[in-house]
């Protein structure tokens, strides 16, 4: 048994830090170069700018971008955190009351089935088109994956492990702390990773309902003034924030879930 071997195995399989960044970066670079070339060759419509055009407007837009992004980020993050609290509380109820599980999950599915773009105007009427709407829609968008992740995660304990804890005469609290919680962590992190871009998208859609601050508003302004490079700059910024949020959670996960889950254990 050698730790070095296991480490190098992990290096090749999941690639470590560099391995995670490099392939997507290379793909993005290739796509960027291809678009640049296509634009220069006149193959693309006026609605698709060359990456160099987008980059050219970036410095002048940086301050605006940051000002708008702050608002979107704040709404998305707040909605995300509140949604996580609500989802975890409901998951707790669903798990401790067997009869409550189906109704709670059904409500989750129902909420998830209503398109956010249809919900946003309804809530705009109720709470106004300000930052509150952003928080609410971001929360709703993130809700179902968080609920499902928590419920499934806490149910994911191995049947034998449950018997083991019974034979050891473990208390309910010990089962939760020593068995259910660690078993649930991979599911919960997966849910958090899926929900983060969703809440950002929710905040963005809320801003289309007519607020004056936020990346969503910035996209609308740029669209109406037909400033194509700025539209794209804003979209790319949203993508970058989404990817960053996902990456940040994945980073925390890699520090917390240090044991190989079934998917990657491989002996």
């Amino acid at each position: 048994m050698s730790g070095a071997l296991a480490r190098s195995g992990r290096f090749w399989s999941s690639g470590g830090w560099l391995g995670a960044i490099l392939p997507p970066a290379l793909v993005l670079l290739a796509v960027g170069l291809a678009v640049e070339w296509a634009k220069a060759a006149g193959l693309l419509p006026i609605t698709i700018p060359a990456p160099s055009q987008v980059a050219a407007v970036a410095p002048a837009q940086a301050a605006d971008l940051w000002w708008h992004a702050q608002s979107t980020l704040r709404n998305a993050a707040l909605g995300y955190v509140i949604s996580a609290f609500v989802a975890f509380t409901l998951a707790g109820v669903a798990l401790s009351l067997a009869r409550a599980e189906r109704p709670i999950l059904s409500i989750g599915v129902a909420i998830d089935c209503i398109p956010i773009i249809a919900l946003a105007p309804i809530f705009a009427v109720w709470v106004g088109a300000g930052p509150t709407l952003g928080v609410v829609i971001a929360g709703i968008a993130a809700f179902f994956p968080l609920l499902l992740g928590a419920v499934q995660g806490f149910k994911a304990t191995d049947a034998n492990a449950r018997e083991l804890f019974h034979v050891m005469a473990a208390s309910r609290w010990q089962r939760l702390r020593l068995l259910s919680w660690p078993s649930a962590l991979p599911f919960i992190f997966a849910a958090f990773k899926i929900a983060a871009p969703l809440s950002l998208l929710g905040a963005l859609i809320a801003e289309w309902m007519g607020t004056d601050r936020g990346l969503g508003a910035m996209i609308i302004y740029a669209l109406f003034s037909f400033n194509v490079p700025v539209v794209w700059l804003t979209i790319l910024t949203v993508c970058a924030i989404s990817a960053l949020a996902y990456g940040l959670i994945a980073l925390v996960e890699s520090r917390v879930v240090t044991w190989g889950t079934d998917a990657e254990a491989g002996g």
């Binding site: 018997e163 005469a169 002996g267």
Partner: protein, 255 residues
């Protein structure tokens, strides 16, 4: 040392509207410090019997005593060690932490030093390893060490080496006998292997299915310590044949 007394124990499960009798009128006494093997066809209720002793399931009728305690009291007093068919280690804990788990749950210091147990099951140097870094045989050794960590009065094993290859299995059996002798615990082993049952046990209980019942109790009158050489002994083969006859009855003659 603690014996196990099982009296008129029956267990039935309700499946849909009907009820299936898994065990019927089991009466047997396992003396203190003995090694008993349970063998029988699939569905004969041997795992169920083990779980009744461990208080994982309650019997439908009849009584079980572990020493002077009920299974429930014995379990709460941490007198029962259980080894599952798969190791059932917590993947987020290393070997040492897994072995310490029962003491942690019980809120008492480990009765047997975890490092001594690691040595006992031959895993010295692997204290910090995660279960995913260990082979199946090594994981099962950790599970045995964990089951022994509070010095249980009875050690219940549900086909602990069923998933291992023949060579590893034989080696683990030798080690298990050595550990059993050192700890003086009353051991019950569920197995599918006739040779394993005869090699390990003082008494082989042959169970028959539908409903699960004890078809025959065969005392294995072979000297201890058991050695691999004994398996070539005509006496050993005699016991194997006796178990086989109890398992298959007339089929042995017919074939």
């Amino acid at each position: 040392m603690t014996g196990i007394v099982i009296e008129d124990v029956s267990k039935s499960f309700t499946i849909g509207k009907g009820s299936v009798q898994a065990l019927s009128d089991i009466t047997v006494t396992l003396p203190p410090g003995s090694f008993t093997a349970l063998i029988g066809p699939s569905g004969c209720g041997k795992s169920t019997l083990l779980r009744l002793i461990a208080d994982v399931l309650p019997p439908t009728s009849g009584t079980i005593r572990i020493g002077d305690k009920t299974p429930d009291t014995a379990r709460r007093a941490h007198e029962i060690g259980f080894v599952f068919q798969d190791a059932t280690l917590l993947p987020w804990r290393n070997v040492l932490q897994n072995i310490r788990l029962p003491a942690e749950v019980a809120g008492i210091p480990a009765v047997r030093d975890p490092r001594y147990l690691i040595d006992l099951v031959g895993l010295k140097g692997f204290e910090e390893a995660r279960p995913s870094q260990l082979s199946g045989g090594m994981q099962q050794r950790v599970a045995i060490a964990r089951a022994l960590s509070l010095d249980p009065k009875v050690l219940l094993m549900d086909e602990p080496f069923g998933a291992l290859d023949e060579i590893t299995r034989q080696r683990m059996n030798m080690e298990l006998l050595r550990i059993w002798k050192e700890t003086g615990t009353t051991a019950v082993l569920v197995t599918h292997s006739i040779a394993e049952a005869v090699f390990m046990a003082d008494t082989v209980l042959v169970l028959a299915a539908r409903p699960g019942r004890i078809a025959q109790s065969i005392a294995i009158d072979l000297p201890r310590p058991r050695t691999l050489a004994m398996m070539r002994d005509p006496a050993f083969n005699g016991f194997e044949n006796a178990v086989r006859a109890a398992l298959f009855g007339d089929e042995v003659e017919a074939a």
